[in-house]
Symmetry: C2
Subunit: 578 residues, 2 copies
C-alpha cells in the first residue's frame, strides 16, 4: 500500500492513453501532467481519536486517511480495496467535477454500485482546478465512521496564487460519536425516532479529548493515548501560513478560531475569495476554506486553536489544538482560557460572513444573466409512516439500489419513479415560521431531468422543523458542478423581488453552501456536465433521512460505462449465460 507516481508520457499509444492524453492536454501543459497513483485498503480498526476507543473505518489503517496531493491537470488513480468483512463501501471525491468520468463520482446508488468486501474498485479522474477538496465515504453513514481525507490540488509549476504565504497546512474538522454509525442509523429509522444526541467530541486533524471519567466502566478510555494528544500546528514567528480548513462533520456547524490571530479568507471550495479578515471562521460540513494567518503575536507563548459548535445549542466541549510558536515546547499549554466562539444562535453573524464571500477581483467567472429554469426547494422536517424524515417540497428522497447512471444510460426506466418531483411549493400559503400543520410527506426516488447546457437556478427555502421556533442550518452540496452563489436572505424568498438583488457581478463559485435558519439561499449552475448528480444536505443523517435530490443532464452524451460500477440491483448481472 502506498503512493507512487508516474511521469506522464504524453504521446505513447494505445488509444485509451491518447484519449486520456487529450483530456489532460486541454487543462494543463502536458509536460507537467502526472498520474498520481494510490493504493488504499479500507479496514475497521480500533481507534481512540478522543481517547475513547471505538471501531473506526480507516484507510491504510488511519483516520483521517492519507492526503491526496496533486497538481492541476494530473490524473488521480485510487485503487480502493474493500477490506471490511461484510460491509460495502464507496468513496466520493467532493469538489472534483468528474468531467468525462461521471462513473468516478463515488456516490452509491447514483453513480455506482457499492464496492463489495474483497473487491478493488479503481477511481480515476482528472483534477482540473487548483484548490482544497475532500474525499469521503458516500454510502450509508460510513462517512461519520471515519472514512475521509483531503485532496490538495496545487497550481502548475510557474503559476502563482494571487496571495503570498510561506507554508501550507491542512486542517480537517470533524465531530465524533462513541456509538457506532449502525446504532445511529437504527435510531434514525426507529419508531419513535431515537436520536444519538450531540457528538461527544470535536476533532481537529483526527484528534480530540473526551473526559474519560465520563466513560462507562466497561469502556476503554485512555487519557494518555498518543492518539488523542492535541494536534500541534507549529509556526515560526513572522511567517504566514495558509491553512486549508475542511469541515467533514456529520452534523455540526462549526466556528474555528486561533486565539488572538486574525485570519484572511482567500479561497473556498477551489475558488479565490476577495480577501477579507475575520476573527473566526464559520464553516459548514462539506465546505473548505483557505485562510492566511500570520504568526505575528507574542512568540514567547503558545495559543489555542479552538473549535466550537454553532447553530445548534452546543453540549460538546470545545475542540482544541495548539498553535505553537517555535521554539516553545509544543506541549506547553497556552496560559489563557480557550476561546468559546460566537453565540451559537447568532444567525445574523453567520449570515453576514456568508454574504461577505465574493469572488476575487480578476478571478470572477461571470454567471449567465438569466436562468432557463428555476427550482425552489422548501426544506422541511416531516413524518412518513410515523418515521421522522427530511424532505424538499414535501418529498423525502430515497436512494434506489441500482445506480441512476446505469439505469438512465441503459433505459431501465422501470428501476425508479418516473414521476418528476415538484419544482416548487406553495410559497404564498406555507408558513415557514411555524410547525407544519400537516407534517406528513411522501417518499420518492424520482429525479429532476435537466436540459443539457441549460442554466438552472436553485432556491433553497428554509422553514421551521417539527419543533416550535426551530430551524436548522443545512449545508447543501452539489455533485459534478460548481455553482454561483447569487444571494442569501432572511424569511420567505420572493420570486418577484429577490432575484432583482442577485449578485451577478462577483458571485463566488462553490460546491457547498449553507442554508441559514428561517432564510433562503439562491444558486445558479450550468447543466453542462453529462452525468447524474446528487444535490443534498451534507449533514449525514439528514441525507440519510431523505434531504436530497438528483439531477440528470446529458446522460446520452456519457461514454461507455465501466462494468466495475455495476453488479447490484437491476445492474446485477447483464447478459452472458453462465
Amino acid at each position: 500500500m502506498g503512493v507512487f507516481q508516474h511521469r506522464w508520457l504524453p504521446c505513447s499509444p494505445p488509444v485509451a492513453v491518447l484519449v486520456l492524453c487529450l483530456i489532460l492536454c486541454m487543462s494543463t501543459p502536458s509536460a507537467e501532467a502526472r498520474v498520481r497513483h494510490h493504493r488504499w485498503e479500507i479496514t475497521y480498526q480500533f481507534k481512540s481519536p478522543d481517547c475513547f476507543q471505538k471501531l473506526a473505518v480507516t484507510i491504510n489503517g488511519g483516520t483521517p486517511g492519507p492526503t491526496i496531493d496533486a497538481q492541476q491537470g494530473d490524473t488521480v488513480v485510487v485503487e480502493v480495496k474493500n477490506g471490511l468483512l461484510t460491509e460495502n463501501v464507496a468513496i466520493h471525491w467532493h469538489g472534483i467535477r468528474q468531467i468525462g468520468t461521471p462513473w468516478s463520482d463515488g456516490t452509491e446508488g447514483v453513480t455506482q454500485c457499492p464496492i463489495l468486501p474483497g473487491e478493488t474498485f479503481i477511481y480515476k479522474f482528472v483534477v482540473d482546478r487548483p484548490g482544497t477538496y475532500i474525499y469521503h465515504a458516500h454510502y450509508g453513514m460510513q462517512r461519520s465512521a471515519g472514512l475521509h481525507g483531503s485532496i490538495i490540488v496545487s497550481l502548475p509549476g510557474g503559476v502563482k496564487e494571487p496571495f503570498e504565504y510561506d507554508e501550507d497546512r491542512n486542517i480537517i474538522l470533524n465531530d465524533w460519536w462513541h456509538r457506532s454509525t449502525y446504532e445511529q442509523a437504527v435510531g434514525l429509522s426507529s419508531i419513535p425516532f431515537v436520536w444519538v444526541g450531540e457528538p461527544q467530541s470535536l476533532l481537529i486533524n483526527g484528534r480530540g479529548r473526551f473526559n474519560c471519567s465520563q466513560a462507562g466502566t466497561t469502556a476503554v478510555c485512555n487519557p494518555n493515548s498518543p492518539q488523542c494528544s492535541p494536534y500541534v500546528l507549529t509556526v515560526v514567528p513572522g511567517k504566514t501560513y495558509r491553512l486549508r480548513i475542511t469541515s467533514i462533520t456529520s452534523l455540526s456547524a462549526l466556528n474555528f478560531e486561533i486565539e488572538g490571530h486574525n485570519m484572511t479568507i482567500v479561497e473556498t471550495d477551489g475558488h479565490y475569495v476577495e480577501p477579507f479578515v475575520v476573527k473566526n471562521l464559520n464553516i459548514y460540513s462539506g465546505e473548505t476554506y483557505s485562510v492566511l494567518v500570520k504568526a505575528d503575536r507574542d512568540p514567547s507563548r503558545n495559543y489555542w486553536a479552538a473549535l466550537n459548535v454553532v447553530s445548534r445549542r452546543p453540549t460538546t466541549p470545545t475542540g482544541l489544538a495548539v498553535f505553537n510558536y517555535y521554539p516553545n515546547h509544543p506541549s506547553r499549554s497556552p496560559p489563557t482560557a480557550p476561546p468559546t466562539g460566537p453565540l451559537w444562535n447568532d444567525t445574523d453573524y453567520r449570515l453576514d460572513q456568508s454574504l461577505r464571500i465574493r469572488a476575487r477581483r480578476g478571478y470572477a467567472v461571470p454567471p449567465p444573466r438569466t436562468a432557463d429554469r428555476v427550482i425552489t426547494f422548501l426544506n422541511t422536517q416531516n413524518r412518513i409512516n410515523n418515521r421522522t424524515r427530511w424532505a424538499v417540497n414535501n418529498v423525502s428522497f430515497t436512494l434506489p439500489h441500482t445506480p441512476y447512471l446505469v439505469t438512465l444510460k441503459q433505459g431501465l426506466l422501470h428501476a425508479f419513479s418516473q414521476e418528476p418531483p415538484p419544482e416548487t411549493y406553495d410559497y404564498q400559503n406555507y408558513d415557514i415560521y411555524a410547525v407544519a400543520r400537516n407534517p406528513n410527506a411522501t417518499s420518492s426516488d424520482g429525479i429532476y431531468r435537466l436540459e443539457f447546457d441549460s442554466t438552472v437556478d436553485l432556491v433553497l427555502q428554509n422553514a421551521n422543523t417539527m419543533n416550535p421556533n426551530n430551524s436548522e442550518t443545512h449545508p447543501w452540496h452539489l455533485h459534478g458542478h460548481d455553482f454561483w452563489v447569487l444571494g442569501y436572505g432572511k424569511g420567505v424568498f420572493d420570486p418577484e423581488k429577490d432575484p432583482k438583488n442577485y449578485n451577478l457581478m462577483d458571485p463566488i463559485m462553490k460546491n457547498t453552501v449553507p442554508l441559514h435558519p428561517f432564510g433562503w439561499t439562491a444558486i445558479r449552475f450550468r447543466a453542462d456536465n453529462p452525468g447524474v448528480w446528487a444535490f443534498h444536505c451534507h449533514i449525514e443523517s439528514h441525507f440519510f433521512m431523505g434531504m436530497g435530490v438528483v439531477f440528470e443532464e446529458g446522460v446520452d452524451r456519457v461514454g461507455r460505462l465501466p462494468t466495475s460500477i455495476m453488479g447490484c440491483g437491476h445492474a446485477k448481472v447483464l447478459g452472458r449465460k453462465p
Copy 2:
C-alpha cells in the same frame, strides 16, 4: 411479510413446474407437497435478549427468526430482503442437502455472492427428509449477531415416527456477547490477537439474563425487560414432550439438562437414533437433537432447564429456562438450585455420549464398505504473518470473493488456487500432545475435487493448540450431505488399525460431528450431490480464522446457475455491453 402456503397443483404446465413436480413426486406423494412461502426482511434492531441492549441482526424484527415448518417433500421458498444499510447477507439452510439446488445453500463465497442491501434473494429448495434443521447467516460473523432459526420438517400425513409423544417444542441454544461481531472480528484479525472473551450469557430460545449491575454506566441494561424473562416450557403432568434442541452457538459446547428429568435421545440431524436415556445432553454448535421428556415428576412445583458450558473453562453463568408444570404459575421459581452440569473438562463423559449415538434399528442406512479416498485433517492452531489462525494440515482456508460454484461451473480457474490442499499430515512424527515446534502455516483458497459418486472418508485428527496442555472441541459441519459417523477415538488415529474398528453396522448419519480434544473422528460420505460444498468447524471464529475446506463434486452436472447468485468478484458483470 409473513408466511403463506400454496397447495401444489401437480400437473399444471409450464415446464419448470413439471420439472419441480417430478422432483417432488420422487420423494413424497404429490398430493401432499406444498410450497411454503416466506418473506423475510433482515434489519438491525436494538434487542435485549439477556436484558443488556445491543444491536442484533433480526428477521422480520426478531431473533431467533421465525420457524420454518414444512412437511417432507415440500418446497420451501424464502424471499430474503436485505434491509441492512451497508452490509450484505447470506443464509445457509443447515442440514438441507440442496439436491438439485446447490445454488441455494447460502454459503457466501462458495455457492453465492452476498445479497446486497436493498436486494431480495429467493432461496428455493425441497426439504426431502423429516427432522430438525437450522438456518443461519453464513457470511462474515453475522450468525453470532442473531440471524438464525429452526427448520422443522414433519412426516407426510399418515406416516408415523418410530416413537410416541404428545407435543413438540423447539429449543434453540445460543451464546451471546455484548460486543459487536465487528469488534470480535477486528480483534481476531489483529496483531497481537485480541480475544473478545467468553460469552456474557447463554440463551435458551433467545432469552438469557445478564447481571445488569455489571453493565457499564453508559450501557442500557434493564432487568425488567420482557425480552429477558426466562423461556417457559409449560408441560401437562403425565404427557411426553419431544424437545427439538438446536445449538447455534458461536463458540460454546453446551450441556443441557432438565432438573430431575431424564431425556431419551431419539433423533439427531434428521436421523433416528437408537433410543437411549441421558440425564443431560452434550450438544455442539450446528447439531440438533430430539429428546423425549415425560412430565412425570412432582407436579406441585416447577423445575429448571439449565444450560452450561463444557469443554472450555466456563466463566459464563448457567443459562436458565423454567420447566413449568401446569397449572403452576410460570414465574414461580423452582425451589432448588439450578443444575451446574457435568465437569467442564470431562472429555471422556462427552466422548461416551458421542459413542452411544447409533442409528435406530430398522432405520440404519448401510454405508459403503470401503472408501475410494481417505483424507486426513490435522486440526491445529497456527500463526501466519503474526496473526493467529486455525488450519487443517497446516493450510488455513481463505474464502475467495467469487463463489466457487460460479468459477468452477464457468471454468474461471484463475479465480482461486489450483494447488490441491494436502491429503494428510505427517502422523508418524507430529506430536499432537505438544505445542507445535513451528506453528507457522500457509493460507490458501485451494479446494478438494472429488470424483463424482465416489466414497470419501474424512479423518479429523485433533491436536494441541498454541497453549500447552490444551486441545479444543471442534464441531465439523458438512454442507450438501449427511455422512456416516464411523468412529471416534482418543489420541493419534492409526490408519492401519483404527479403520478395522469402524462401525459399519449401525453408524448414525449426521451433518455435524464433534472432534473431541486430543482425539479423532472418522466419517464417510458419498460424493453424489453435484455442487460445491463447505466442510468446516462450526465455531464461527474458527471458520473465520481458516478452519475449513471446500469439496467439489460433479460440478459439470449442475444445471444452469441462476444469475441471482452472481454479481461479485469475477462474477460481477458477465457480458452485455452497457
